[in-house]
């Protein structure tokens, strides 16, 4: 039988109740997924709102990726709750002073927005399928069409207005949702490792790079699976975005860490002991070295040398994969790392995740894979690669 709790070994002095880490790997996965949502939506909006034409090949795909990740976001939270059946208590009687109380509303609003935008974007495809398919599929697409079969230029113009508006609202919504996740951690004064005004911004920028990196990897994988050539300008566009946002992310993370050390408030000794000890591999090697500095250098080198063709594709995908690892490690180092430093400021804990159980590694793996299973399913119903006739940018702004 699974034990009721997993106690963590400690050194120095920790409060007796701290030996059971409250927030586990599921709470690492939760901001990681919301980050992917915000990042993927940003790429989609760069095309839908700002008219970055070179991102057109992935714009619709990005929307589906965003939607699939967002649908799974509440799952790690629900799995973590002691009483998931009471989750709606936070919606029925939201405690207005709690940073967490608005999550359900913010998430629900954003899911509705994503579904609406997806529907508008894929409406021409849905209508065509409803008219061309027969039997059950025709019936299915007819329901999806919601009785709206008009694909005339006037109707499409009307749709584009909606897509544009939804993307415009979606940008601050997606970024607000993720910045707010950073606030959940940054606003806590009980942990020096978390307590930082820069936390929301760091979460936000790392979210954008993780979402962009995920799209790069998925886009190239999908091209290989579909046996079509990679659209190099599109890939380059995403690589530039990745490079640019990585600069901001690294800068913010660097400034945050520097101020933490420079301020040197109570407990800094134990934080430095933690940083120089258990955090060397997850923080300096994996997050900063392998996951951030290396891809940044490689990307810079490729931009400088004007690398093209297969080496570019391979290089960008490798960099994007490393960035995905770096952001996952960043979430891990924030969420778990913060709890490994005792609130006493005089001791350190060691978290060892269990393999089985509701909060074990296997459950986490399932939560992380689920968005891609959903994506595979959704892509069978809504093809993001078809020419749907919607164009984007300021030219169609209302």
């Amino acid at each position: 039988m699974e034990p009721l709790f997993h106690a963590s070994p400690f050194t120095g002095y920790v409060y007796p109740n701290e030996t059971i880490i409250p927030w586990t790997l599921l709470i690492v996965v939760y901001p990681y997924l919301t980050g992917l949502v915000a990042g993927a939506f940003t790429v989609s909006s760069l095309y839908q709102v700002f008219g970055f034409q070179r991102l057109k090949p992935v714009a619709h795909f990005a929307l589906l990726v965003s939607l699939c990740c967002m649908i799974v976001v509440p799952l790690p939270l629900l799995l973590h709750l002691g009483h998931p059946e009471r989750a709606f208590n936070a919606m029925i009687t939201p405690h207005t002073t709690s940073a967490f109380a608005v999550f359900a509303y913010a998430a629900a609003f954003y899911v509705v927005l994503l579904i609406l935008e997806t529907w508008f974007v894929f409406r021409p495809f849905i209508v065509r399928e409803a008219q061309q398919k027969t039997g059950l599929l025709s019936w299915f697409y007819s329901i999806l069409a919601l009785g709206s079969y008009d694909l005339s230029e006037k109707a499409m113009r009307y749709d584009r207005k909606w897509i544009f508006a939804l993307a415009i609202i979606g940008m601050p919504a997606a970024h607000g949702l993720h910045g707010y996740v950073g606030f959940v951690f940054g606003s806590l004064k009980s942990r020096e490792w978390w307590s930082s005004d820069l936390m929301p911004a760091i979460f936000l920028f790392s979210a954008i790079i993780s979402g962009t990196a995920l799209l790069i990897v998925l886009y190239v994988v999908m091209c290989k699976l579909r046996k079509v050539p990679v659209d190099v300008p599109c890939l380059k566009g995403m690589a530039f975005a990745l490079w640019g946002f990585m600069m901001f992310t690294l800068l913010l993370e660097g400034v945050e860490f520097a101020s933490l050390v420079y301020r040197g408030r109570e407990g800094i000794d134990i934080i430095l002991q933690f940083v120089k000890g258990p955090l060397v591999i997850p923080f300096f090697v994996l997050q900063f070295g392998l996951g951030s500095a290396l891809p940044l250098l490689v990307l810079t080198f490729m931009i400088w040398r004007g690398t093209n063709g297969k080496p570019l594709v391979a290089g960008v995908v490798a960099c994007a994969s490393l960035v995905l690892l770096a952001v996952l490690m960043m979430r891990y180092n924030v969420v778990i790392g913060g709890q490994e430093i005792s609130k006493t400021g005089k001791g350190l804990l060691e978290y060892h995740p269990p393999l089985f159980g509701r909060e074990g590694l296997l459950a986490v793996a399932v939560v992380l894979i689920l968005p891609f299973v959903l994506l595979a399913g959704l892509m069978r119903l809504l093809s993001p690669w078809e020419e749907t006739g919607t164009t984007a940018g300021f030219s169609v702004a209302p």
Partner: protein, 280 residues
Amino acid sequence: MDERAELDKHEQERRDFLSRLGSALACGAAAAATAGSVAPRASAASGESDKPAIPGYDWTKHRYAFGVDATKCIGCLRCVEACKKENNVALDAHHFRTWVERYVYLEGEEKPRIDSQQDPVNIEASGSEREYRFANRYQDAAVEKAFFVPKLCNHCTHPACVQVCPTGATYKTEDGVVLIDHTYCIGCQYCVQACPYGARFFDERRNVTDKCTWCYHRITKGMQPACVEVCPVGARIFGDLNDKQSRISQFVQNNRVYVLRPETGNAPNVFYVGTDKDVN
């Protein structure tokens, strides 16, 4: 012309649909907002209707506080044992509503050696996680200074745990106690994170958060909290600040008292005498 009319009709239909969808969303949000404003949980238990159903007890007439005279504590840990039994706290080394810390300054060392009853060495000395004992681990060392500090929930005036609770399941009572409604807690543990004192823990048997209540079931009947009652040296003091003759009022008046981590702004209501610079 017919085609034109058909187009307009479709557009009108779509407009109607979207308009209805928008109204539905707005209504949903409004309903939820209304529910939030009228729900008793969200009001942090301030209204007449939230009064506890305890015969003959009026929570507006009391203002409880707790005192700890660390100079008196002998580290016998009877308080820890009494609390565990009185409040049905899990009998292991990871769940405590109250605990005692031992600070020992050895000659030639700048920082104190700190342990509590949950330290593996102390558990080995007592022989069980259910027995509480401080091992005589410094008997051969040159001790410069040593003392014990009892710890418990500070029932803060501005509790960070209450602030972050997403449902309002944890709340501040009129008489100054921070309580948890175990039937409403969703078990997110945000409050466990927010408490700077490590006073909260997750009870895996009930899947909710738990912590010290100053034995609310006892004090509302005029009794003392279990830990205060069993303390053989009077190191723990409890009472009503509204009563100027109460032990706690006298304790606060006659001593220069200190609170833990005042910089957090939580404004604790456990007042200490005889702590040291390394205690937090």
